[in-house]
């Protein structure tokens, strides 16, 4: 009993979910955030890093199937970064000098790969977690390209990804998706990004 609980990722443990079996999943049956972008979307972005805060705007678009582009800028228009990301590539189209550091770019790349689910092939195996008391919630533990990644799905029929946890202790990321708000949190790095969809 303790052994099972110990192996269960915290994300699923909090919902008293237990590992059920190993399953094959088709990525198309899941709905990660931003997956069904039809036009460019704009988000207000609040970044908190330790005691510092910064705000701006994140623009996001799907350039083609499986390829996304994101541009972060200050409110008054200066571009902070502009990335293109797909399963095979991560292109820095532009990035302000202070952020253009390998460690920062690696964290951002890994975060966005997990969020867009570009860290898994079209079909992949996952450990399946469930709680019979909460049949609409399901969890998938995945050995992704860049390490362990856990996806919490609700409601199960839609495949909507509500929560993601990835990474080791220092770089561990927790992303939460609500209707119009996305929160990406690195507790150990004291780094938090909150995106709120803007109604244009």
């Amino acid at each position: 009993m303790f052994l099972v609980a110990g192996c269960t990722p915290k994300l699923f443990r909090d919902l008293q979910m237990r590992p059920a079996t190993s399953v094959k999943i088709h990525r198309g049956n899941l709905m990660p955030a931003f997956d069904r972008l039809e036009t460019a979307k704009y988000y207000t972005a609040q970044i908190d890093f330790k005691e510092n805060s910064m705000s701006g705007i994140l623009a996001l678009t799907k350039e083609s199937e499986g390829q996304f582009r994101m541009v972060m800028m200050t409110t008054f228009g200066i571009t902070l970064f502009d990335f293109s990301i797909s399963r095979d590539s991560f292109i820095v189209n532009s990035c302000m000098e202070q952020m253009n550091k390998k460690v920062v770019l690696n964290i951002l790349e890994k975060d966005f790969r997990s969020i867009f689910m570009l860290n898994v092939p079209e079909q992949f195996s996952a450990r399946y977690y469930k709680n019979p008391q909460k049949p609409n919630w399901i969890g998938y533990g995945v050995n992704a390209d860049d390490g362990e990644c856990d996806y919490l799905i609700y409601p199960r029929e839609t495949g909507f990804v509500r929560n993601i946890q990835n990474g080791g202790s220092i770089k561990r990321m927790n992303a939460v998706f609500d209707e119009q708000v996305v929160t990406i949190h690195h507790p150990k790095l004291k780094l938090k990004l909150v995106l709120t969809e803007m109604q244009q």
């Binding site: 705007i57 571009t79 244009q200």
Partner: protein
């Protein structure tokens, strides 16, 4: 009927030539005189209050994002952009300090400790207030008459600033030299064929009316 057609064609040509002449920007012949007038006008401005709209065009998105709010300027060196739509946010520049505020969270930068932020603050502040005489030697200025406005094309000479702004187009009302529009054009990015830009348009200007010092407080 044929005469009617000819008349319509002539009217169309006349309108086309009028709009062409409105669009064409002619270089100003006496730049020294214009600069002197601009400097005199700027010296007489103690404060500005206006509405503003901001359009940020992002080439990669193929669309632009619009916001609007209130603009405040007070001599010396105090600028505030109070964004009201689509969300509330403040940008305040006061002396050497710059503050961004959203959702009650503030980010304060000391421009004297960050030369790049300082330079950007100087450009934005000078352009929005129309006081471009003291921008220094780091910028090439070209002057044009564009319809009822003067157009000042500002090109940074240093690579550091060029990374952020390839050019700034500043439109000044030819009557009173107040700023009508400011367009900050970024360099073309990898994989793009068009420049991103941010365009500010100012309207309902009130010049030299009392602006409370409290709105520029940074703390």
């Amino acid at each position: 009927m044929k005469i009617m057609k000819k008349v319509l064609i002539l009217i169309a040509l006349a309108i086309a030539s009028m709009s062409f002449s409105l669009q064409a920007a002619n270089p100003v012949s006496d730049v020294a005189d214009l600069k002197a007038k601009m400097q005199k006008a700027a010296a007489n401005v103690t404060s500005i209050q206006s509405d503003f709209t901001q359009e940020k065009y992002v080439s990669a998105m193929g669309s632009s994002m619009k916001s609007s709010g209130k603009f405040y300027y007070q001599k010396e060196n105090k600028v505030k952009l109070e964004y009201l739509v689509p969300f509330k946010q403040n940008l305040v520049m006061n002396g050497n300090k710059l503050m961004m505020e959203m959702n009650g969270k503030k980010n304060i930068m000391d421009a004297s400790a960050n030369p790049m932020a300082g330079e950007l603050k100087k450009v934005i502040s000078a352009c929005m207030s129309g006081d471009i005489a003291n921008m220094g030697d780091n910028y090439k200025l070209e002057f044009f008459l564009d319809g009822s406005n003067y157009l000042v094309k500002i090109t940074p000479k240093t690579a550091d600033i060029q990374k952020f702004a390839q050019q700034v187009d500043l439109y000044l009302d030819a009557k009173d030299f107040s700023v009508v529009k400011m367009k900050m054009i970024e360099p073309i990015k990898k994989g793009q064929s068009k420049n991103d830009y941010t365009e500010y348009t100012f309207s309902n200007k009130k010049m030299n009316e009392k602006v409370s010092d409290s709105i520029f407080v940074i703390k």
